[in-house]
Every structure is written in C-alpha cells, then in structure tokens.
Symmetry: C2
Subunit: 277 residues, 2 copies
C-alpha cells in the first residue's frame, strides 16, 4: 500500500492510499480519515460506498463527515466505485463500466476479469485496512449513496455478523426493478434474474436477510426517485419483514452532495450510537 | 442576474448566479447560501474571498460553511477571483491573470480594462446582492483564504464603516514583501510601490487603517507560510498599531480546504457574535 497524500483536518488525518488489488487486477485508490486517538486505541469504522461516476474523492472533498467522525472517534473509509485503467473494458455510458461497478462480482465476459467489487469490498480491502490502520473490526458500520446505498444495503444484508449498523442516502433499493439495475446487473451477471437477487436489497429481505434496524434519507426533489431509486419498495419490504427502518423523505432535497452533506452528521451519530454501545 | 443552479442544503438554499458586470466588462459568477428565515427578515452577510486558481465553486463545495451559517442565520457570499472569458488578457502562470485578480483595480495595460476586482467586490456586487437577496447591509463581515485573505484584510481595512468583522485563513499579509505580491501588484499597478500600499494589509495598518479586532488562522505546515504568507509581519503590524488580533498558528495544518473547513465553523461563530451583537 502506498500513501498518495495526507492532510491534517478536523483534528485527524485525511489520507488517500493506493494498492495493487488481487480482486480487480488493477491499482485501487481509497481514502481513510483517522481521528486523533490514544496510541494503542482501536477505533470503530464506518464504510462509505459512493455512487455512479464517483471515485473516493467526491465524498472525501464534499461529504462533510470529518467533524462528526472526529467528535465520535470513528474512522471513515471511502473506496472507489470500480476498477480503473486505460486497458480495462469500459462502456461509454456513465452507468456501466468504470465508475459503475455496482458492488458485484461480474460473471459475464469481458467484465468478469476485473469488475469484482464485491470481493474487493467484502474481503480484500477490509483485510488491507485491518493491517494498516487502527481499526476495531468488531465494530463496523456501512453507508453509501445511490449506487453506493445499494452497495451498503446489500453488503450489510449479506454480512449481518460483520456490520453492527447499516444506513443509506438515496439508495437504489431494487436493481431488479429499475433501468440502472437492469442494465448493470444484466451486463455484469447475465440474463438469469435469479442470480441478481443477491444484489438487490428488497429481494435479499424477501429471501430472509435481516437488519436489526436501518436509517435511510431520501430527498423528495431527487430527480431519480421515481424511476430509479423507488424508496417505497424498501419501505414495503422492511414493513413486511418487520425490520424497524427509519426511512425519511427530506422535503426539497435533491440527489447531490448538498443533500448528503446535510444529513451526514446525523448518520455518523446514528452509527456511533450503535458502534460504541 | 440569472440563476445558474439552486440546491437545498442544511436547511437553506445554496444558489449560483451569473450577471454581466460593468466593472469587469464580463459575465461574473458567484454563489450565495441563504438559510431559511422569516418572510420579512433581513440576515447578516459574510463575504468569502477565494484564493489563487479558485472560482466560487471551491469553497461552495469544500468549505463546510452551511451548517454554521444555518445555525447562526448568516448569508454566505462567494465571488469569483477574476474576470473570465476566452478573449481576456491572461498569463500562463497560475498566479497572474485569470484566477488571480488580487482584488485590485489594475491600471496597467492590458489588464486595466477588465481586471477591476476592487470595484467589483467593493461596489458592484454589494449593490446587486442588496437588490436580489434578503441581506441586512448594515451587518456585513468579510473573510477569505490566501489571496482572498489578503482581499478580506485590505477591503476590511479600507472600509471600516462597511464591515463589522474581518477574519482570514492563511492570508497573504503583505504583497509588498512576497513574490506573489510583487508579481501581481507590479503587473496590475506598475512599478511605483507607493500605489501598492492601498493593497497591502500591513502597509494599510502602518498608514493608519484600523480594525476593532481580527481573527486569523494559519497552518504551521503550510508550504507557502515562510516565502509568501509571512504571518509574522501581520502579528507585528497589529501589535504596533494596538489592534487586538487573534492570530492562531494551527499545528500540522496545510494550505488546503482540509484546513479551511476545519476552522470555518469557528470563524462563522466569531463573525456571528459581532454581526448579531
């Protein structure tokens, strides 16, 4: 692992790091904020998965998470959204290929060689982080935005022993039921929709996966709400499954980091209450 | 004036606006954050002047000012740092021409036609803002970063009746005494250094200008500190003049928005105490 940059910020260190990933076969870049802490202390961790077109940099620059992470003593990790490189398969559209990994392990050619973001986020990056940062891996939470909200929900649902807390900002709640999801999962996984269910929060809940609770914020002026995000499907799935979800429609807010940053401190406080209990 | 964009954020409206400036002869873009307020209320205003290479967008995206402005009920205005346009005189370097207006009215050809940021910031933009936003122009504060810290200090010192509060992040405190200043003021104003003194915070203080008090934060790991910023000259000028300045060296912090955002809420609270007194 190599350090790309470190900047002192909000009484801690905001770093950017790169390493050669075996999961994706490419260099991968991610950011980590570590609040100041006692020399031997291990801090709880909050993972943040980003949305379409983003890298680690969007939330690192615009997310306004550092003040709250410093206050609560939480390490904040922001991975990239796909493998990167000039010689990788890609698609001209913003919603498939680079910047659009959808947190799946692709099985379709030519994507299956590098687009293995599930293994990267679930296995490889946690092991790397545990080796290099003062993280208490017994206290992990996960959140994310849009495609990354989908990632947070599905990874959280599939790994209930790993994550004590799961939240999301304007998540894609059911790739089975929206154009972004149909394109991405169809392209990466192929036409058999039974294979998609492991990557669909509502289907995972329907198939028996559970969370102890859940916090979701969604802007009601989000232009993607009705066609792509479909928050109502998650409300129904949680209600049917008895998951005590707090799903808040925020009046006037859109899909941007102006929305995310507004509710970031709330989410960090919510995770802190569960990670430090 | 035309609205470029508005986004709801932190219980207010973050807008970006453009207008044709008579001062610069070009279109100019700026951002305004207006917290929610009572229908007839007029809110105090904090001006933020940006540094070299920046537009309004840097602080608007990375400045982390909205939560504190919403808390204190303060309107936050971020202008651009120079005129813009393909047919303007420019310089290849980052520290002269576009993105580097230095908040002066140029008198040297070819700069004197468009590079009139002093008139723009001191006269034209305040009049426009007063017409279009719910601002209480009797309660204005000013701050800024680096070249914009220089702008905030010099504009504040020259206009003591307009500004109740002046602060700065890592300001260029004396263009007369650093390479950035010598290049910019020499280029825009010509070789007669007597004319530069109206654009040099330390010289203005030496020549009799005063502030009721002053807050400055400066990172001690800032790579520009010793050659360009020279905070010590401001410390000495304030001491000699009896200005009760709070000039804080912040250990480990650099020149970036990771530094600015860390102390932004502090500055806004400091201005609020003076604007709402």
């Amino acid at each position: 692992m190599e350090t790309v940059s470190t900047n002192r910020s909000h009484g801690g260190t905001q770093g950017v790091y790169t390493h050669q990933s075996t999961a994706t076969g490419t260099a991968m870049t991610f950011s980590v904020f570590v609040p100041d802490h006692a020399p031997e202390a291990k801090l709880p961790v909050l993972w943040y998965l980003s949305g379409l077109t983003c890298t680690h940099a969007n939330v690192t620059e615009k997310g306004e998470f550092r003040a709250a992470c410093a206050e609560h003593g939480i390490i904040f990790i922001a991975p990239d959204t796909s493998p990167r490189g000039d010689d990788l398969p890609d698609d001209e559209a913003y919603d498939f290929g680079k910047g659009a990994g959808f947190y799946v392990d692709a099985v379709q050619a030519p994507w299956s060689v590098n687009y293995r973001m599930r293994t990267y986020i679930e296995q490889e990056l946690p092991a790397l982080v545990a080796e290099h940062f003062p993280v208490d891996m017994a206290r992990q939470g996960i959140t994310g935005h849009s495609m990354g909200g989908h990632g947070a929900l599905t990874i959280g649902l599939r790994n209930p022993d790993r994550f004590r807390s799961v939240s999301a900002f304007s998540p894609i709640v059911s790739p089975l039921n929206c154009p972004w999801g149909e394109k991405a999962l169809g392209g990466y996984l192929g036409p058999d929709k039974a294979a998609w269910r492991a990557y669909d929060a509502c289907a995972l809940i329907e198939d028996g996966a559970r969370l102890p609770d859940l916090l979701v914020d969604q802007g009601d002026a989000d232009s993607f709400l009705h066609e792509q995000l479909k928050t109502g499907l998650l409300v129904m799935a949680c209600r049917k499954a008895g998951i005590p979800a707090t799903i808040r429609m925020q009046p006037g807010y859109d899909h941007s980091y102006y929305f995310i940053s507004t509710f970031m401190a709330d989410h960090i406080g919510w995770h802190a209450a569960r990670l430090k209990a």
